[in-house]
């Protein structure tokens, strides 16, 4: 008998899966890209949430960000739609099979310009999905043009200056009734993974606007989407703890310093306040916070707004619990007497 110890088995989650089993293909993005860091956090969050990987529907549009859905959860189906139109495809899929967990990954070009119309209506409808914007202020895949989230005064490597105001995706989402609105930074992994887990537990659209520096085209000193700028300027509005529904949670917390939010599935988000009197369930305060950050060019991160009881689009549409896609022919085709009745009315 060999005396060598057996290699230590990697840890598994409640689904009996290792974190590796939530992985995907090797990234083809630039070395050091913020997007790859986000991909790792998505992988980690799926693992920690014990999501059955075959139930993950990975949705994306076009751009560097949209490529990343191939880099995680390859035991789930993926759909690389056309530029800016991922929300529609996700909406159709979820309307017939809400048993899926839709994870959408988009970019600032995909979401704030060509896809702005669809993004607006996705939020308005509250389609159940996690929608991550990997926000770097430029179009990476077409080599560095400004996007609509670039701050006024920011410069391209060519020296061109952006004169147009940035679209604040979080403010827009709050305005449109999104029930889970967060801003984060790809460099803040702890915060990001907690926000992702909360987003996965949330019912309805969960928006994560994540600053994710483009190392090739927008990581220079005059950029407000660079690693250095984000690191130097990030101000978390709270520390975020996520407690899944199946774990016991301590009943005691100080409401003066901590806010407890119970999500639809019974999970809790515990927000330890870093800004006095900030209430993430107060829409007015959330919008005021966004405006203040814009005015002062502050980079405030955290769960800006949460409204866990909001009805999602399926509920609003009166679609029932059983996925329509699973119904057999016998339940889909009305009987002959239905047709006869219609014909009689037309005679």
């Amino acid at each position: 008998m060999s005396s060598t110890a057996e290699p230590k088995a990697p840890p598994v989650n409640r689904a009996g899966l290792t974190v590796k089993e939530y992985g995907g293909l090797k990234s083809t993005l630039c070395v050091g890209c913020g997007h790859d860091v986000i991909t790792r956090q998505i992988t980690q969050a799926l693992y920690e949430m014990s999501v059955p990987p075959y139930k993950v529907a990975k949705m994306s549009g076009i751009g560097c960000s949209s490529k990343t859905t191939a880099y995680f959860a390859d035991r789930g189906h993926g759909f690389n739609a056309v530029h800016g139109r991922m929300p529609a495809v996700a909406t159709g899929a979820m309307m017939v099979n809400p048993s899926l967990l839709a994870i959408g990954v988009s970019g600032d070009g995909d979401t704030a310009s060509i896809g702005a119309g669809q993004f607006v209506h996705l939020l308005r409808r509250n389609v159940p999905m996690v929608y991550i914007v990997e926000n770097n202020g430029v179009y990476g895949l077409t080599k560095g043009q400004f996007s609509a989230t670039a701050d006024v005064g920011s410069r391209l490597k060519t020296g061109a200056v952006n004169d147009l105001p940035a679209i604040d995706l979080c403010a827009m989402a709050i305005e449109l009734g999104c029930g889970y609105v967060a801003r984060s930074f790809s460099g803040d992994m702890k915060q990001l993974v907690a926000l992702l887990k909360g987003a996965m537990a949330h019912r309805g659209t969960a928006l994560l606007d994540v600053v994710s520096p483009c190392v090739t085209f927008n990581n220079h000193d005059s950029s407000t989407k660079s690693y250095k700028w984000a690191k130097d300027h990030e101000i978390p509005i709270h520390e975020i703890g996520f407690v899944p529904y199946y774990e016991e949670i301590s009943v005691d917390y100080d409401p003066g310093t901590t806010q407890d939010v119970v999500l639809h599935d019974g999970s809790h988000i515990r927000l330890r306040k870093l800004r006095a009197d900030y209430d993430a369930t107060d829409k007015g305060k959330a919008l005021a916070l966004c405006m203040e950050a814009q005015q002062k060019t502050e980079f405030l991160t955290g769960l800006i707004y949460v409204e866990p009881a909001k009805k999602d689009f399926l509920e609003l549409s009166g679609v029932g619990g059983q996925p329509i896609v699973e119904l057999p022919e016998s339940r889909l085709r009305p009987p002959k007497k239905a047709l006869d009745e219609i014909m009689e009315s037309l005679k």
Binding site: A70, F79, A88, T91, N97, Q118, G318, R333, K336
Partner: protein, 616 residues
């Protein structure tokens, strides 16, 4: 007035040859004046008298005020295409009255509001001035209702003039107002008032008469859009996304209405389909592709402008191979102009819709029955071929009233195509073909197998859906051979489709060297034209393609005839062009007849076109 006096008054027109059950009634009103109910009642009463009838609404893009016309054609021979000449004109719109009178056929009967003083416009028509405004004041006490009720008075006048059976009118009124007693009473009072006034004051001097027949027993009257909606519902559609656009909105609305009644699961009480009114047509097709990818029978309905917006997503659906059903109720051109007029305008652009190489399956229904059956075919074909399928109707077919046989129930099982739904099916597939490769042609027909998201818990089941650049295993690739192989397989798939699409309807027994090719709603006018040409001694053969790509029978028909007239309801001869492009061979024998004034095709246009061609 007694019946005897009525007969005496009517007999004054006896000198002329009576025209029985073979003329058009043209009602000119202002849009939004509520004339639609009156026109429906007129049409339905004729239908109930057993006389074949059709109704066409020639309406403006407007809610209130602009001129609108409704044409009712009675035809003892069963011709239900638009008829060019007007026999009976009912002039209710002062704005168009002069023009309306000038355009009717000589000998026409003209009923008009007497204050318009139209009787000096020409001398070869028969005038019936009626004091509609005065009558409505007497007949209807409620001032708000007068605007609508005035239109019922012309129903009464027409009933007297043409010999419409009042019992049938009463039945039609009850149906129109769903037996709401108050509405039935007010409207019947106005109709009777019109009839009684006409009896007392008018003398019939025109030849047009309606007489009871027995040619409509068991028939229905239906709009093509409703027939399509019923077909979609019976095909088990699971998802509808749509954006309002004339002339397709009424299709979506009919489906929503029918599904609310007949697509509620009796066991759970839950709907068995979901619906979204999208933010635009682009999103509508995106949603349909999402639902189709997820495994649902999914559809959208639109018209030309929407088709243009769907171009990119259509290409993605073609390359990614996602089933989708798209109904195109065709109309005239972009933006403002003639959005409420009919056209076969999108045949060419839709067949090739997308950037990159693409050809799609198009179905071309030629009747309300085919709107229904081809809606069901469209879902089977979309899932069989994993691709967007277009059902090309038009405004004339979709929004006008057509007499038809009741739509038959189909118990043909739904063709859900090559889908691996369970672990067992996946394992059997892998045992047979070594692996599941999403885009591999394992059966030699160009059609690969697919799995659905969230159905099978196995890594062998999943794949990544994307555009043109993918290998057989759905991996991203830019390798020349991978791209070319995929494109060649897609071409093979379209070849296979030729064996599955509805074949043409061919009538080629005449021995004539003259052939006609027409499609869609042109069928009614073409069949009528063939009968009339036959009476004049010209026999014709006829082929009506019902789908693109063309089946071999189309080429055979062209080869077998010396001259083939291709009828299009568009300026550029889109079908004519497609035949020359797709069939090849001797295309000199193809001759193009093009009708493009916004109104539905009539038989005269076809006859004139063929006669002119044959004289050459």
């Amino acid at each position: 007035m007694s019946t005897a006096v009525l007969e005496e008054k009517h007999s004054e027109s006896a000198g002329r040859t009576p025209v029985i059950n073979d003329f058009s009634i043209h009602v000119a009103t202002a849009n939004g004046s509520g004339s639609m109910s009156s026109n429906s009642i007129l049409m339905r009463a004729i239908f109930q008298m057993g006389i074949p009838v059709s109704g066409k609404n020639l309406f403006p893009s407007n809610i209130q005020g602009l001129p609108t016309w409704f044409t009712i054609r009675a035809s003892k021979e069963g011709f239900i295409a638009r008829r060019r000449d007007v026999g009976v004109l009912i002039c209710m719109n002062p704005e168009t009255a002069h023009e309306d009178v000038r355009t009717v056929a000589p000998g026409a009967a003209v009923i008009y509001e007497e204050s318009l003083k139209l009787d000096t416009l020409r001398s070869d028509v028969v005038y019936y001035p009626v004091p509609f405004q005065k009558l409505v004041l007497e007949l209807v006490q409620d001032g708000k209702l007068r605007r609508l009720a005035v239109n019922m008075i012309y129903v009464g006048v027409a009933a007297w003039l043409l010999g419409l059976d009042m019992a049938e009118i009463e039945k039609a009124v009850a149906k129109q107002f769903k037996s709401k007693a108050a509405a039935v009473e007010i409207n019947m009072k106005a109709i009777r008032g019109g009839l009684e006034w006409a009896e007392k004051n008018l003398t019939k001097r025109d030849p047009f008469r309606l007489e009871r027949m027995n040619a409509t027993a068991g028939k229905i009257i239906i709009e093509g859009n409703a027939a399509t909606a019923i077909g979609c519902m019976m095909a088990g559609v699971q998802f509808l996304a749509w954006y309002p656009i004339t002339p397709s909105s009424s299709l979506a609305e009919a489906l929503i209405d029918y599904a609310g009644r007949y697509r509620i699961d009796p066991e759970t009480g839950e709907p068995t389909m979901s619906m979204v009114q999208a933010e635009d047509e682009l999103a509508a097709l995106g949603m349909v592709l999402g639902a189709g990818w997820a495994g649902a029978r999914a559809m959208t309905t639109t018209s030309g402008p929407g088709i243009s917006l769907m171009s990119e997503f259509t290409g993605l659906g073609y390359y990614a191979e996602v089933p989708a059903v798209i109904v195109d109720v065709q109309r005239v051109g972009p933006s403002t102009g003639l959005p409420t007029r009919t056209m076969q305008g999108d045949i060419t652009s839709t067949y090739y819709l997308s950037h990159g190489d693409a050809k799609h399956i198009l179905l071309l229904p030629g009747s309300v029955e085919e709107c229904y059956t081809m809606a069901m075919d469209a879902f089977d074909l979309a899932e069989r071929f994993q691709t967007p399928v277009f059902l090309m109707t038009d405004l004339d077919l979709g929004m006008n009233n057509w007499m038809a046989d009741p739509l038959p129930f189909s118990d043909r099982p739904l063709d859900r195509g090559k889908v691996l739904r369970t672990k067992e099916e996946l394992d059997a597939h892998i045992a047979k073909f070594k692996e599941f490769a999403r885009y591999r042609d394992v059966d030699g027909d160009g059609i690969p197998w697919r799995t659905l998201p969230g159905f099978i818990d196995a890594s062998a089941a999943t794949y990544f859906t994307r555009g043109s650049g993918h290998s057989e295993r759905a991996h991203y690739t830019e390798r020349p051979n991978d791209y070319k192989n995929n494109m060649d397989r897609l071409a093979r798939k379209l070849e296979t489709a030729k064996k599955h699409v509805p074949g043409p309807v061919v009538s080629d027994g005449s021995g004539s060297r003259v052939g006609i090719i027409a499609y869609g709603s042109s069928d009614f006018a073409v069949e009528e034209a063939r009968v009339i040409l036959g009476r004049k001694g010209m026999k014709t053969d006829y082929l009506r393609p019902r789908a693109l790509p063309f089946t071999p029978a189309v080429a055979a028909f062209i080869a077998a005839h010396e001259r083939v007239y291709v009828i299009d309801q568009n300026r550029d001869g889109q079908m004519y062009d497609l035949l020359r492009l797709e069939i090849g061979g001797n295309t000199d024998k193809l001759r193009s007849i093009r009708h493009y004034d916004g109104f539905p095709l009539d038989a005269e246009t076809v006859i004139e076109g063929i006669e002119a061609g044959e004289k050459k």
